[in-house]
């Protein structure tokens, strides 16, 4: 057994209502670590031969909750959620902050593998090695805040009944879904702590399809034994120190972005990306901080940075709304992207989106898309069930978000996400509406535009990423350089937060951390050449195989949304746009460096060299 691991995984079959402990080969753990990379490996191993037929929202999908060996040690607890994505039909490693991964490891598990589909709503309660699949009838249909309350009450009651002499029981750590996940909305998230979400990938819908409302875990053991505890402690302090040296990052988190990514870098979505610039001082971080933040420092396990804050609207029309900062992504997508420019409106939208269990990014993207179609007269008030989806009308957008979560009327169509909705609306209206869909391979683009060239996003970041529109896994050239997504793949596999400690940490530190925990040697170069590259190949292959409802053609789909080729209409970078020739060239260069052929399919020789023979076999059809 490798140090730093608990030593076993929990596999739950919801069709049968059974569970068992499973061990994974040490070689898998050495090569794929945990989290995202291990998810890719497990999914590939179990499903690649029938991938095209596997309905992400059917019983054959395998849903994974995987921390990694660094989870709990590296400051800032996270867990990776994965499976076949109902957004891209590929694999997304979607991580969410909180104590779930830590509690799971303290319970003695390196991850949870969920198969099948329950007949009636259930939740899983894990107390160390005591596992229970429990009836979730009374929490099904509840919003995320209420779900959290009800689960805490029920699980603590059970713990008190079963272990009355222990003393007071802390709440278990939990992941859960809201109504959107239950209704298999493709933009549904897996929620933790009310406001934290594994958004990209749409795994809330996968939980819903399995009728799995939640997993709650209380682990009472220690984190696994490590190779060099002294070194782990020293590294924890280095990360903390680096965070403490960055006081404004600690104070504002990404909450400063809603103004600066527009005013300074012109890369924020404004009215469905028709613009990427605004200078609305009403949207400054000081407005959020001084009017709405009731808690200035909110952290997940071990985190020195506390980039999360709690916002609460105490008066006015939106009284009662509670969310975190919101972070930059939700400031952008549920603010300027909908023509909203006040903190109160943004917090109101984010609070609602949290409660419904929707993804703020994906839902903000599809709401913006629909509003632009309304602006252009392509979707009418009648099409929208009587809602006038006007820029700046928070209540209209809130109304539509509820319809999406409940798949009611037009909401049922928009619940498919921007790309699928665009295909349907295009047919319905006999118009090219894909030009207004700001997405990549089924996943709405993160709130970092590429046109100004001033943000960290690169010209092929979304076009070539195996996680598509995911701004936390953008890629770039060279494939082993600092802009490549192999590093994000490491973070998502280790599983650690890329925010805690900020950006001034030396780049080898995470690999030293890995060595201190596991005792295994792994350099940055090793990862870029082997584990990281293997992960990208598997994710790429499964994305290309795709299905059952959609498939991707790299010639068409390894590209930016067409909006990014329209010149920016306003701001200091007015006139700037992505360049088609340059993008095409970079895409080809990227294919070459990734070991893919000119059509973007991983080459046989690449896969054989990486010992991925089964992937090679499965790709035969794609090469024709």
């Amino acid at each position: 057994m490798i140090l730093g691991y608990a030593g076993k995984f929990l596999e739950i079959n919801l069709t049968e209502g059974t569970f068992k402990d499973v061990k994974l080969d040490d070689k898998w753990l050495k090569d794929y670590i945990g989290g995202r990379a291990l998810a890719a490996k497990i999914l590939c191993d179990r499903l690649i031969d029938k991938w095209e037929q596997v309905d992400p929202l059917g019983p054959d999908n395998v849903l994974l909750f995987l921390p990694g060996p660094l989870t709990g040690f590296y400051p800032g607890g996270r867990v990776c959620v994965s499976g076949k994505s109902p957004q891209s039909n590929g694999v997304v490693g979607s991580t969410v902050g909180g104590e779930f991964g830590v509690d799971l490891r303290c319970a003695g598990y390196d991850g949870v593998i969920v198969t099948g589909q329950a007949e009636k709503p259930v939740y899983v309660f894990i107390k160390d090695s005591d596992i229970e699949i429990r009836d979730a009838g009374s929490i099904w249909g509840k919003d995320c805040k209420e779900t959290n309350t009800l689960l805490n009450k029920e699980c603590r009651r059970l713990l008190n009944e079963r272990y009355p002499h222990y003393g007071e029981w802390k709440e278990p750590a939990k992941v859960y879904i809201g109504p959107a996940g239950e209704n298999k909305v493709r933009t549904a998230v897996v929620t933790a702590k009310w406001t934290h979400a594994a958004g990209y990938g749409g795994y809330g819908a996968v939980m819903g399809s399995k009728k799995l409302k939640a997993i709650a875990v209380k682990g009472t053991g220690p984190l696994p034994e490590v190779a060099d505890l002294g070194k782990v402690k020293r590294l924890i302090n280095i990360v903390a120190k680096s965070s403490y040296d960055n006081p404004l990052w600690r104070r504002w988190g990404t909450g400063g972005g809603g103004y600066t990514f527009a005013a300074n870098t012109s890369s924020e979505p404004v009215r469905n990306w028709q613009e990427e610039w605004h200078d609305e001082k009403s949207y400054g971080v000081d407005q959020f901080e001084n009017r709405l933040w009731v808690k200035q420092a909110w952290s997940d396990f071990g985190c020195p940075t506390n980039c999360m804050k709690i916002a609460y609207v105490k008066s006015g029309k939106f009284k009662g709304a509670i969310t975190d900062n919101p972070d930059y992504e939700l400031q952008a997508y549920l603010g300027p992207n909908l023509g909203l420019f006040t903190p109160e409106e943004d917090v109101f939208m984010a609070s609602l989106i949290d409660d419904l269990g929707l993804c703020g990014i994906q839902t903000g993207n599809v709401l913006g898309f629909a509003a632009e179609l309304f602006q252009r007269g392509i979707l009418t008030k009648k099409d929208l069930d009587g809602i006038e989806l006007k820029w700046g009308d928070a209540e209209a957008f809130a109304h539509m978000a509820k319809k999406i979560a409940l798949r009611e009327g037009i909401g049922d169509l928009l619940a498919e996400g921007t790309y699928r909705a665009a295909l349907k609306i295009g047919k319905m209206k006999d118009k090219d509406v894909l030009q207004y869909a700001v997405q990549s391979k089924g996943i709405g683009i993160g709130a970092h535009g590429i046109r100004s060239g001033k943000d960290f996003s690169t010209e092929i970041g979304y076009a070539c990423s195996v996680q598509c529109g995911d701004h936390t896994s953008m890629t770039g050239l060279p494939i082993d350089g600092p802009e490549s997504e192999v590093w994000e793949a490491f973070n998502d596999s280790a599983v650690i937060c890329n925010f805690s400690g900020g950006w001034s940490l030396r780049r080898n530190l995470k690999f030293d951390f890995y060595h201190a925990v596991t005792g295994l040697n792994l350099t940055r170069e090793d990862w870029a050449r082997s584990g990281g590259l293997k992960t990208l190949q598997i994710q790429r292959a499964l994305l290309l195989i795709g299905g059952p409802d959609l498939k991707w053609n790299p010639k068409i789909h390894d590209d930016n949304p067409s909006r990014f080729y329209e010149p920016l209409p306003s701001g200091p970078y007015k006139g700037k746009a992505a360049d088609r020739t340059s993008v095409r060239e970079s895409v080809q260069k990227y294919y070459e460096q990734a070991g893919w052929d000119e059509n973007g399919v991983p080459k046989s020789e690449t896969l054989k060299r990486l010992e991925l023979g089964n992937v090679d076999k499965a790709l035969k059809k794609q090469r024709k």
Partner: protein
């Protein structure tokens, strides 16, 4: 600030707690040489998100837990004023939990004994990390005449206080 020569108290400003749990990490590393949240003498409760707070011994003046122990396993440190657990004498009967107004002591998760904050012999590790990060939820002060037992409150009560401070009447929905 307290010096090491006088009895001390951990002053707590619960609303400042970020829920980072660095105190749990530091405490369990010090006492168990592992990162072990449930074995930590200070535990962060988060029954309502945002209302995270540290639950740890308040070092009441009248030490009801010490009084209640049938096996004389608990004593008061003259140096620091902390409650000390004699592991050899403790049977894990739980009488100290019942006696504590805040039900703060809890069982060690792997051994049949109670765990109570021992103030790390005068240099509490939880305070150290909380101060390093400038959260100031925990701070070591010299022990004076204060009703320290006010801080021995049950998790539900403490949660209600903090959630109400954050969310006003809306807090009732989450409790």
């Amino acid at each position: 600030m307290a010096t090491n020569k006088e009895p001390i108290w951990i002053a707590r400003d619960l609303a400042r707690c970020s829920g980072c749990r660095k105190c749990e990490i530091a405490c369990s590393l010090y006492h168990e040489n592992r990162i072990w949240p449930e074995a930590s003498r200070v535990r962060i409760f988060m029954l309502v998100p945002g209302a995270d707070f540290p639950h740890l011994c308040a070092q009441c003046d009248d030490y009801p837990c010490v009084e209640a122990c049938p096996f004389k396993a608990l004593s008061v440190s003259k140096k620091t004023s902390a409650v000390l657990v004699n592991d050899k004498k403790c049977t894990g009967c739980g009488k100290c939990i019942e006696a504590c107004p805040g039900r703060i002591p809890h069982m060690h998760p792997a051994e049949n004994k109670i765990v109570i904050c021992d103030l790390c012999n005068g240099n509490p590790q939880c305070v150290k990390v909380c101060q390093e990060g400038e959260w100031n939820a925990l701070k070591t002060v010299t022990r004076r005449e204060h009703p320290y037992k006010l801080y021995a409150r049950k998790p539900e009560e403490q949660t209600r206080n903090l959630a109400t401070k954050l969310y006003g009447e809306k807090a009732e929905e989450f409790i």
